[in-house]
């Protein structure tokens, strides 16, 4: 299952973790963005299958990126995963309203991430097919 993913997180260790988790097992092409601005740059010129966004980032936060993707014609097919440390907080609630397809609670495990993406991409294929 080849797919094109974007991980947006200001922590290099988290980005490296996600990249290693996905590239190792799947045929994923993973791009990284350290800031919301960098993400905007990539979102403007690429169509992603999966976008994983940390909610808590300085300047442009994860919610703002979700709102942007919702309006962006290029990202209509993207599965949006929001990383948060609290699943029951106000931030996660807003994320759901802004169209997040799934949530990942930090810290998460390699298998948890892989499983989630398989599930999301599997259901996306069923819908489109």
């Amino acid at each position: 299952m080849a797919f094109h993913a974007l991980i947006v997180d200001d922590s290099g260790a988290v980005r490296a973790f996600v990249r290693a988790s996905l590239e190792d097992a799947d045929f994923a092409r993973v791009q990284e963005a350290e800031t919301g601005f960098e993400a905007l740059r990539l979102l403007a010129s690429n169509a992603f299958d999966v976008v994983i966004v940390d909610i808590n980032m300085p300047d442009i936060n994860g919610l703002e990126l979700l709102a942007f993707m919702k309006k962006s014609p290029r990202q209509q097919g993207a599965q949006k995963i929001l990383i948060s440390t609290q699943m029951d907080g106000q931030d996660a609630k807003r994320g759901a309203e802004l169209g997040a397809d799934a949530f990942l609670k930090k810290p998460f495990e390699v298998d948890e991430l892989r499983e989630l993406i398989r599930r999301l991409l599997g259901s996306a294929e069923k819908v489109s097919g």
């Binding site: 922590s11 260790a13 960098e38 403007a44 808590n56 442009i60 709102a67 440390t85």
Partner: protein, 690 residues
């Protein structure tokens, strides 16, 4: 299947350490603001929260359980702090400062899961939890005061929304600014915007909009809050980003909220680009940086060295064909290409060196924490003044420098700066000052640790040295005041704290000196009883490559680091005099001790009779003339370690390849100084010290 985490473990440790350093730095700023009763920048508290928050996330993912648990507990406390549910106080600061020590220890441990660690971590967590929260009175939602687009509110994080409320409560007005940014330069543009806003306004958030942008540009709406009068703020943003616009205060509840998108954008604002400020060039976004293992840089530097050898080999072949007219044109071309190659090689070398450089501020931040801690332990008032934190030095040196400097700082507070009551008795300010100064001097970096405390008692030092049998009574009487002060570096003298406490300096000055010497540096001391002590550490900027003067001694080639060399003068045997068994010459009216290297190394039994040169070297506040046979020239050399079997040979810093497949030994100027002035005993003692 292997755990993909294994490959990125280093990335985790590097980032975790950076986060802890950032935390430590920010806590010092917070502490300072709290002490001065200044308004605490909410951005600073948020930064502290973010460091701990990120640390918590990655610690959990990389299996550092205790780091994760500690960070999690702190995160709750810091979340309360940033959301205004608790406030900054001494107890909270203490707990936060302690966290830095805990994190550093837990990250360095081989077995962080031991029962002792478990107990320590649990005790710390209990201390963090003992800090209660206050609930602020809420008088209705201040957000109702403004007509803010619900679409905007829906994308704010809890923290951003809290800041918005807090700003309105403080009486700040809300503004919006819209600007179109070039996507390729957006990081720099935002940095510029942040600087423009700086003190006048708090940026609540940036909202990317779909209007006004295309593939190369994007329109961002910036939400700002500011307490300065509107006219002043308008003037400040005049002509930039098409200006700012005040968000209207509600007079009554509107039936339809005004939408951000209905605000007309002027043509100017659409194309407005923030001007590039060259002074901000160094504030490049961290998004453009990478972390590199320093060993990789060492490897690259070795490759550069090999390339230089290739170049020399080509030169030799060119030389062989010189004079053969058939090749004249080709040789000229080859020569030109070779020179270009050399220029590029030199740039490459400079580039690699530049990458290795880090600001000393990294160490100074650690020291600032030590200052705070030591001052608290001894109940002394100490003000830390730092200059030259941006001075850059090789990463390896910075790492090795931390321990010696920590020692010097601790000594200055433990033994130098007096308690407040003792200070006021002698008409000094109750608060002592500790200055950390760093600056470049030639290709050296100088670091000074200076206190305005009680200073050192030189005579006391001498008496202690005599009573310990480190010095004969007669020899003691011949010492100058400076020489008496230098006794503090003798092994055995300053290791006895009960004795040296009296002379105003604590333990382990000999260890400090040894460490500095090992890095090819020098340490010197100035002290005035009653008014303070200044310790000066002089180090090479980099350990990897040095510019050297190539000299010959008894037909053998040696390299002497140019940083130590002041000048070279002809050696005239008739001018040499002997004072107290040591050879000296007179240079511009000053007596200069000299050292004949051929004799020192045992190449010749007696001093040379004619010819040769005196290479005048200086280290710290001393000068010494090295007598050599010939001067070959200057060259950039890469110092390579001598290897285990030769590492105990004194007087040499290593060996270097001179490019013509000749190897030269690199003279260790600081060691030669020590050998000459303090005798071989001092050097041996310093080297055998653990």
């Amino acid at each position: 299947m292997s755990d993909p985490r294994d490959n990125v473990q280093e990335e985790f440790l590097a980032e975790a350490q950076e986060l802890v350093e950032a935390l430590s730095r920010d806590l010092l700023l917070l502490d300072e603001a709290h002490h001065r009763n200044e308004r605490i920048d909410p951005g600073l508290i948020n930064e502290i929260f973010r460091s701990v928050h990120t640390l918590k996330g990655i610690a959990g993912m990389f299996g550092y359980k205790h780091v994760g648990v500690v960070a999690h507990t702190l995160e709750d406390l810091l979340d309360d702090l940033r959301l205004g549910r608790t406030s900054v106080g001494p107890q909270l600061l203490d707990v936060l400062f302690d966290s830095v020590e805990h994190f550093q220890r837990l990250l360095a441990l081989d077995d962080p899961q031991s029962p002792e660690e478990e107990a320590r971590v649990q005790a710390y967590i209990a201390a963090v939890r003992s800090i209660g929260t206050e609930t602020a009175e809420e008088e209705g939602d201040p957000l109702h005061k403004y007509a803010i687009d619900p679409a905007v509110l829906s994308v704010l994080t809890e923290y951003e929304e809290h800041r918005l409320r807090a700003c309105i409560r403080e009486g700040f007005r809300l503004y919006r600014l819209r600007a179109v940014f070039d996507l390729t330069a957006i990081d720099d543009s935002i940095e510029t915007l942040r600087n423009v806003a700086s003190d006048d306004a708090e940026i609540i958030t940036y909202l990317p909009s779909m209007e006004g942008g295309n593939d190369d540009t994007i329109e961002i709406v910036v939400l700002l809050a500011s307490g300065v009068p509107e006219a002043q703020l308008q003037a400040h943003f005049e002509g930039r980003y098409g200006g700012i616009e005040a968000i209207e205060e509600r007079t009554h509840l509107p039936t339809l909220p005004p939408r951000l998108t209905s605000i007309p954008s002027t043509a100017a604002s659409m194309g407005a680009q923030p001007e590039e400020d060259p002074s901000q060039a160094s504030l490049h976004s961290v998004a453009n940086s990478v972390r590199v293992d320093i060993r990789k840089l060492d490897h690259l530097m070795n490759v550069v060295g090999e390339l230089a050898l290739v170049r020399s080999a080509v030169n030799r072949i060119v030389d062989q064909f010189k004079g053969e007219s058939t090749y004249r044109q080709s040789l000229m071309d080859l020569d030109r290409i070779g020179r270009g190659f050399e220029r590029q090689l030199s740039e490459l070398r400079t580039g690699i060196l530049d990458v290795r450089m880090v600001p000393l501020g990294q160490v100074f931040n650690k020291l600032a924490r030590i200052v705070r801690q030591a001052a608290r332990e001894h109940d002394k008032q100490v003000r830390l003044v730092v200059t030259g934190a941006n001075t850059e030095v090789d990463k390896l040196i910075v790492e090795k420098l931390t321990d010696p400097l920590m020692h010097l700082v601790r000594n200055a507070i433990d033994h130098g700066i007096e308690p407040a009551d003792a200070r006021t008795r002698v008409a000094k300010s109750a608060e002592g000052t500790l200055a950390l100064n760093a600056y470049h001097k030639g290709s050296n970096v100088v670091i000074e640790v200076e206190d305005d405390g009680g200073g050192m008692n030189a005579h006391q030092l001498r008496e202690t040295a005599v009573s310990l049998g480190l010095l004969s009574t007669d020899a003691g009487h011949e010492l100058s005041r400076q020489e008496m002060l230098n006794l503090v570096f003798l092994p055995g003298l300053s290791t006895r704290s009960e004795v040296t406490d009296l002379s105003g300096r604590g333990v382990g000055m000999d260890v400090v000196k040894t460490n500095i010497l090992r890095m090819g540096g020098m340490i010197s001391i100035e002290s005035e009883q009653g008014s303070g002590t200044k310790i000066t550490v002089t180090l090479p900027i980099t350990l990897a490559i040095i510019r050297a003067l190539i000299v010959t001694i008894a037909s053998r080639t040696f390299a002497l680091p140019i940083t130590a060399v002041r000048e070279a003068i002809p050696y005239i045997p008739e001018e040499v005099r002997t004072i107290e068994g040591r050879e000296v010459i007179t240079l511009r009216g000053e007596t200069l001790p000299i050292c004949d290297l051929a004799r020192l190394f045992g190449f010749r039994g007696s001093s040379r009779k004619k010819g040769g040169f005196v290479v005048v070297a200086s280290m710290g506040n001393r000068e010494l003339g090295f007598v050599v046979d010939g001067l070959v020239g200057q060259d950039d050399v890469i110092i390579k370690a001598l290897g285990k079997s030769l590492s105990s040979v004194r007087g040499f810093a290593g060996a270097t390849d001179l490019g013509d497949q000749k190897v030269a030994l690199v003279l260790d100027a600081p060691a030669l100084f020590t050998e000459h002035f303090d005798g071989p005993e001092a050097l041996r003692a310093a080297e055998t010290h653990p």
